[in-house]
């Protein structure tokens, strides 16, 4: 298009007085045009020729029918929206059912659903809204379609409304739909093919259970008291016999351990899609390790959660990730605890430089989502993997994951203080 035409188009579409929109917004709708046409025809009828009243009558008829018909039709229709399951992942098709009861003895035509695009569109035609040709009279009708929510979250995010502007489209009437139970859409996860070769706690490897505190594991013996031991673990008979505190010794767990650190501050300034990509990475990593029965500690937003293998853990964790919003970000005041297991982190490449300078993050291997800014420097550090390349972040993770697993040995992890 020639630049002059482009400028002209820009000028024609420019909003020169946005403050006036709230007063004249109705002029942008068909009902505004009908009103203007009616006004013009009435004025012409009064001042120019009475024949224009004929046009006024026709426009009035169209306006009145166009307003009353949809309004009356919507008075008799009630409906409920429901899903075949309560939860699904991003990009996973789910059956949606809309149950409508029309109490009028005449059908309602040409209805459509006004809701989040993710749930009010069919998988087969994602660009088209859900429309209903007719709702039969005095009947309960069920409309079913398969939708594919693209983004995580609790749906519906806004009111779901049934609407119609039939017959003329000059005025749209709405009726709010009830929702049986909301749909929780989890972040999409990828199937990672491997796990790092880490077999459990380093203490299991070197056979020295005596430095363990806490109450985890079954009793296997006694040992001298160390600060931090609970008084409940004191073996009083032995204590009396030896005249010094003796506590029960517990066995060491055999499951490998993971610390997964989500750098919440990396979300600042990110778009929604970038935040979603970060959360997908986090979800993929956490679920992958939990499904391999690792004891996974995940840090999200100043809170460290322990994810134990099991479906209820997964459900709670994914629900949390689905509804986590970037505006919940707080300054990360919690520092990562020292771990003898594997420590992974999720961040963006813009934060890598900062994170690499902090000592308490030194034990963590970062998976960094590349920002749109291609010029972001990649620190010369083997402690991070920037997920560059074609495809989504998950696809990139899938590609680099086997490589990462191959280079992560249990021996290097087993030795305290030695990282890969």
């Amino acid at each position: 298009m020639p630049s002059a035409l482009r400028d002209l188009q820009g000028m024609m579409n420019a909003d020169f007085c946005p403050w006036a929109n709230k007063y004249v917004y109705w002029l942008k709708k068909p009902i505004g045009w009908v009103f203007c046409a009616l006004l013009a025809s009435v004025l012409l009828g009064i001042y120019v020729s009475t024949q224009a009243f004929l046009v006024s009558a026709a426009i009035s008829a169209i306006g009145i029918i166009g307003i009353l018909w949809p309004w009356i039709a919507m008075q008799g229709v009630r409906g409920t929206l429901s899903w075949s399951r309560g939860r699904c992942e991003e990009g996973e098709p789910i059956d949606t059912t809309l149950t409508l009861i029309n109490r009028w003895p005449w059908p309602a035509f040409g209805l459509f659903i006004e809701a989040d695009h993710a749930i009010a569109s069919q998988t087969s035609a994602p660009d088209e809204p859900i429309c209903l040709s007719s709702v039969p009279a005095l009947a309960e009708s069920q409309f079913e379609w398969e939708c594919t929510p693209g983004n995580r979250g609790l749906y519906p995010k806004r009111k779901v409304r049934l609407a119609t502007a039939f017959p003329f489209g000059v005025w749209t009437c709405y009726r709010e739909l009830a929702v049986d139970s909301p749909l929780m859409v989890w972040p999409k996860t990828a199937k990672l093919k491997d796990v790092p070769d880490v077999t459990g706690s380093p203490s299991a490897g070197i056979g020295s259970p005596s430095d363990q505190i806490g109450d985890e594991g079954d009793w296997m013996g006694v040992r001298p008291y160390r600060p931090g031991d609970s008084l409940r673990q004191v073996h009083w008979a032995q204590t009396a016999r030896r005249d010094s505190l003796v506590v029960f010794e517990r066995q060491t767990r055999a499951r490998p351990e993971l610390l997964l650190w989500f750098d919440s501050e990396s979300c600042e300034g990110c778009s929604d899609e970038e935040v979603n990509e970060l959360l997908r990475l986090l979800a993929t990593l956490s679920i992958h390790f939990v499904s391999h029965s690792w004891i996974t500690r995940v840090a999200l937003n100043n809170t460290i959660r322990v994810l134990l293998p099991g479906s209820s853990t997964k459900q709670r964790w994914m629900d949390e990730l689905a509804s986590w919003m970037p505006d919940q970000i707080k300054n990360q005041s919690v520092v990562p605890p020292k771990t003898t297991g594997l420590a992974l982190g999720v961040t963006t490449d813009l934060r890598l430089a900062t994170l690499s300078q902090a000592n308490h993050y030194a034990q963590i291997h970062w998976f960094a989502y590349p920002s749109l800014n291609e010029s972001a420097p990649t620190p010369d550090n083997s402690n991070c993997t920037v997920l560059r390349g074609e495809g989504s972040a998950l696809e990139r993770l899938e590609r680099v994951w086997p490589h990462y697993c191959q280079h992560t040995s249990s021996v290097s992890l087993a030795l305290p203080g030695i990282r890969r």
Binding site: S3, D7, S49, Q51, C131, L132, P167, G169
Partner: protein, 840 residues
């Protein structure tokens, strides 16, 4: 250039967001429709007609118009084919294909823009050629501009690819049509506007449907039987209600009164009304139809044998009993003198006397007026019942009512004056106090059929009268007795139509002791010393016969029998009402119960026998009211009965036997009718909703006070019924289900399942959606304690097989468990009946 106007550049993301927001209407259309082009073509035809009127080169104009239509149609057809090909072949799913598609689109758009630029100037070129080649001023500039706009609309319609572009063309077409209609003086333009209107409506519908049609999803439907039954019941109720309204308001015509245009006769006329709806003014006034009537000056009617009121009274009430006269001396007169005297006496008798002493009527009216095939004296259009006063009397001597010679009320009455209402000459004949009357005037129309009188039968509180074409106020006059008459006429011509406006009294103001209108009896009886000159005439209406029985005693007796409460606190009107109601309650209307011919006066007969003809009861009421000090008069006239209202014609006929006598009480300048005869409806009064509510409340309270036991029983029954409504409905359903005992087990199991579901519904126990049949049956059958475990299992087993298993397996199960299933259904059905009496 681009950098110089960055503020106009729209961010791509925003544009995308807009497209999503506007939904399907913003997207590129899958196919081209000819609707928009057709609309533009019709609109451009209107402009073409305008130009045709003004052009000097019509042939050139026709060629130009046809060329434009053809070229735009061709472009439209071509782009339709190419678009269909694109949609069918290409699916730009890859980036390269999308880019090439976009490039093609841009190229095409540039082509369209260039083509549009060329084609739009054709009208201007035409005008230029017209001026330069053919000479003259050419077309008017605004017409040329309009023609260019018309071309733009056509071009836009043919090249549009989005719904929004279609809208632009549609709006342009509408503007062109509006302009064409406004500026053209051709009547034929309506033949273009009307189809255009329908096309535009269809276009809007099609446009909307297209915007939603691509997103349709499949549906499955279950009819709501219960709701359908409810709707059917509602429809039946509505039909019944409408039928009731139609029946009570005089047929369909009556029910639609005020809704459908009327051809007249009911307060207005509409030229659009069809013949035969009601009685039209034209029909009433005999303008068109021979069978109708009006102020017809035909000799045929002048000699009619119509009866006078006197004749009718004689027919209906019986012959006047001969008066006992005491002759002291008899003088013989010559023949001529005698005849003249007789005529005068007869005339006086007919007009000014009414005897309350009559022979009893022992047979039905044998002779009817002969001058018409109809028995009717008058015909009435308007609300019934209504009392139509014809003659009134002031003086009563105990036997005869007469009109006093010295009484002339004319100075106190309004002289008729012309008052145009709805461009018709109405005569204003009376004013009534605003507090005493409802401001809305009611209209009645009277047709004189068989009555020889020059006095107009008037409803109570009449204010206006109108006869078609009569615009002389002196055509009407009040008589000295306060009766409206036509002074110039010996009698009102037969079939004359009289339109009358009257008001309905608001009597509440006289019942309210705090109201200024509550005092009516200003004149102390019988002394007239303190009466002002203007009120002296009232004495005539307070006169009592000398031989009257003791009216004070009679009043007290009547009132005490009617209402034992003390009457001191009552207002004058309440006393009058009390007396009237007492007479209505205690005196039976009996035309044959007349006093003996030698009686001195007639009032005693009424009070003693408690039954009398209406004129005697009215006379008694008059005397009793006069005794209270309130002016009162006897009125002769007709009572328009509601039962004579003809549903088809909306006319009530008034027959001779509708002759009636009642009383009128003078209150604050108006004569208010009262009817002391219980067989006649009371004259109407206007009440507000609140007053009606109070009347209903007191009526209800009186009923409660007089029937306390019935009230308590009714109240307890209602409370119990409300409390047990659900159980009662359940029991009724169970009682109906009992009828199924002779039927098959299979049927009864189905019935029991429905009954169990019904119980859940009626008691508000929602069935969880995911419960299986077994789950909810297990839950519901526990609520039938009389059911044994075996019976429960048998029923549940059969119900489940009925729902899920094959016919054979079902039959086998039933054969093995027939007795148990039978018992279980009995228990389930009877449980509803037991539940009604279950405590808790």
């Amino acid at each position: 250039m681009t950098s110089s106007t960055p503020q106009f550049a729209r961010p791509k993301a925003t544009t995308l967001a807009r497209k999503k927001k506007y939904g399907p209407t913003e997207r590129i259309k899958a196919s081209k429709s000819w609707g928009t082009w057709s609309l533009a073509a019709v609109a451009s035809f209107a402009i073409f007609l305008l130009r045709l009127q003004a052009t000097v080169t019509p042939v050139l104009l026709v060629v130009e118009y046809i060329f434009l239509l053809v070229i735009t149609a061709f472009v439209l057809a071509h782009s339709s084919v190419s678009m269909a090909r694109r949609v069918g072949i290409k699916s730009p799913n890859s980036g390269t294909q999308a880019k090439s598609s976009l490039r093609e689109g841009l190229k095409r758009r540039n082509l369209w823009l260039a083509g549009g630029g060329v084609i739009i100037v054709i009208p201007w070129v035409h005008s230029f050629v017209q001026r330069t080649v053919f000479g003259g001023a050419g077309e008017a500039t605004e017409l040329v501009w309009l023609a260019m706009l018309q071309t733009a609309a056509l071009w836009q319609a043919s090249v549009s690819t989005t719904a929004r572009q279609d809208w632009i063309s549609f709006l342009l077409s509408c503007f062109l049509m509006l302009f064409g209609v406004t500026t053209s003086d051709r009547v034929g333009m309506i033949y273009i506007v009307v189809p255009f209107g329908f096309m535009a409506a269809w276009w809007l519908l099609h446009q909307y449907w297209q915007s939603v049609a691509r997103g349709f999803v499949a549906k499955s439907t279950v009819p709501l039987v219960r709701l359908r039954l409810g709707i059917m019941a509602l429809l039946v109720c509505l039909t019944g209600l409408l039928g009731l309204v139609a029946w009570s308001s005089g047929g369909v015509v009556g029910a639609l009164d005020g809704f459908m245009p009327t051809s007249g006769g009911k307060g207005g006329s509409d030229p659009a009304a069809r013949q035969g709806v009601g009685d039209g003014d034209m029909l009433v006034a005999a303008k068109d139809k021979a069978y109708s009537f009006g102020p017809v000056e035909s000799d045929l009617f002048l000699d009619s044998q119509s009866p006078s009121l006197y004749d009718i009274a004689t027919e209906v009430y019986g012959e006047t009993a001969p008066l006992k006269r005491e002759y002291s001396r008899a003088i013989a007169l010559d023949q001529d003198t005698k005849v003249g005297k007789d005529q005068g006496i007869e005339s006086k008798k007919q007009g000014r006397e009414f005897s309350a002493m009559r022979k009893p009527v022992d047979k039905a009216m044998a002779s009817l007026p002969k001058s018409s095939s109809s028995k009717a004296v008058l015909q009435l259009i308007g609300s019934t019942p209504v009392h139509l006063a014809q003659q009134c009397y002031d003086h009563f001597d105990g036997i005869q009512w007469t009109q006093s010679n010295d009484l002339d009320l004319q100075p106190f009455l309004v002289t008729p004056q012309l008052d145009a209402i709805s461009q018709k000459p109405w005569m204003k004949i009376a004013n009534h106090q605003a507090d005493l009357t409802w401001s809305v005037r009611e209209r009645i129309t009277l047709k004189v059929i068989n009555l020889k009188t020059n006095r107009v039968a008037t409803p109570p509180l009449v204010t206006h009268i109108h006869i078609d074409k009569v615009d002389q106020p002196d055509f009407f006059r009040w008589s000295s007795q306060g009766q409206l008459l036509m002074p110039g006429q010996p009698y009102i011509p037969q079939l004359t139509v009289l339109h009358l406006l009257h008001q309905v009294p608001c009597l509440h103001s006289m019942r309210d002791s705090s109201s200024s209108l509550s005092k009516i009896a200003k004149v102390e009886f019988p002394q007239g010393g303190g009466i002002g000159k203007d009120e002296r005439w009232k004495l005539n209406y307070l006169q009592l016969p000398e031989n009257c029985p003791d009216l004070d005693v009679a009043t007290e007796t009547l009132l005490k029998a009617h209402d034992p409460n003390l009457m001191e606190r009552w207002t004058d009107w309440q006393k009058i009402e009390g007396l009237t109601d007492a007479l209505r309650d205690q005196i039976t209307v009996d035309p044959k119960s007349v006093p003996s011919e030698d009686a001195e006066e007639v009032i005693s007969h009424v009070l003693k026998t408690k039954k009398a003809p209406d004129y005697l009861i009215a006379s008694t009421a008059c005397m009793l009211i006069r005794n209270l000090g309130v002016p009162c008069r006897l009125v002769n006239g007709f009572y328009a009965r509601p039962e004579r209202f003809d549903l088809k014609s909306s006319i009530a006929e008034i027959l001779p036997e509708d002759l009636h006598t009642w009383a009128e009480v003078y209150c604050h300048g108006s004569w208010i009718p009262i009817d002391p005869c219980g067989t006649y409806d009371k004259p109407r009064e206007h009440r507000t909703w609140l007053q009606w509510a109070v009347v209903l409340w007191w009526g209800w309270r009186d009923w409660v006070m007089s029937n306390p036991l019935s009230f308590v029983v009714g109240l307890v029954t209602a409370c119990v019924a409300i409390a047990l409504r659900k159980r009662m409905v359940n029991s009724m359903a169970s009682a109906l289900a009992v009828l199924s005992f002779p039927l098959s087990n299979d049927f009864r199991v189905g019935l029991c399942l429905r009954l169990l579901r019904f119980r859940r519904w009626i008691f508000g126990r929602q069935l969880p959606a995911r419960w299986t049949l077994g789950q909810w049956l297990a839950s519901d059958l526990r609520a039938v304690p009389s059911l044994s475990e075996a019976e429960r299992q048998a029923f549940q087993g059969y119900a489940q097989r009925r729902a899920y298993a094959s016919e054979i397996s079902r039959q086998q199960y039933l054969e093995n468990n027939a007795t148990t299933v039978n018992k279980s259904t009995k228990h389930i059905i009877l449980q509803g009946l037991i539940d009604l009496f279950r405590l808790g």
